[in-house]
Symmetry: C2
Subunit: 130 residues, 2 copies
């Protein structure tokens, strides 16, 4: 009992409330800036490494590699190696990755909608510490 496979009547967010350790681990992995940007851009189409790097912009070679490995490990991204010279490696979202993409899209929409609010909140904010 208490396994992931149980069918639960609780709302999705209750899982975090129950301090589910795997769910939290996934949050830690996936809820970060680079992962979100990668998911967002890969959602547009399959891309090669360098192409993706250019699209995301501002990400180092190393960070892109690390994040792609992490996303691959979690089954959100699939890596296809074409054994040509020079090698051609393509990255695609899996079904799970597409599901996350919907979430990221939601965040993009949210950002758009509240951009003005956030901007004005920032300019009027005074840190209590001074």
């Amino acid at each position: 009992m208490g396994t992931r496979q149980e069918i639960s009547a609780l709302p999705p967010e209750a899982d975090l409330a129950r301090a589910d350790s795997l769910a939290r681990e996934i949050f830690s992995d996936v809820a970060n800036k680079w992962a979100f940007l990668i998911i967002e851009f890969l959602g547009q189409r399959t891309m090669r490494f360098t192409e993706l790097r250019n699209e995301v912009g501002g990400i180092s070679h190393k960070m892109l590699t690390q994040n792609l490995r992490m996303l691959e490990r979690n089954g959100l991204v699939e890596r296809t190696i074409h054994p040509t010279v020079p090698p051609r490696v393509e990255y695609t979202l899996t079904e799970a990755g597409e599901g996350l993409r919907a979430v990221v899209d939601g965040m993009c929409g949210w950002t758009q909608r509240y951009l003005g609010h956030i901007e004005s909140s920032r300019s009027s904010f005074r840190d209590p510490a001074g």
Copy 2:
């Protein structure tokens, strides 16, 4: 021209594609583990500092303070100080914060739905580096 206030016919995610620097900055601030967890739990109800710390779990005093300041600066969280002894400080989501909460809820749902997929992908994953 080119300001935030323009009405755009493009889909929300196109903003990131245009490398909008403010939108990216917001992504960097908000798309992180602690911010998401805080938003998620604060969405359930208004809470005091220590109460929230217990709910989130595993977050240090310092990190909670830092993230709450950041969320306040961006107008996602409102801080109310009751001038009593000892001080009572309550945190609540703003309307923008509630909007983001919907996104985080979406991610909780996604996590639930793909937990099994992720778990099995993890166990079969072999790092190409060995």
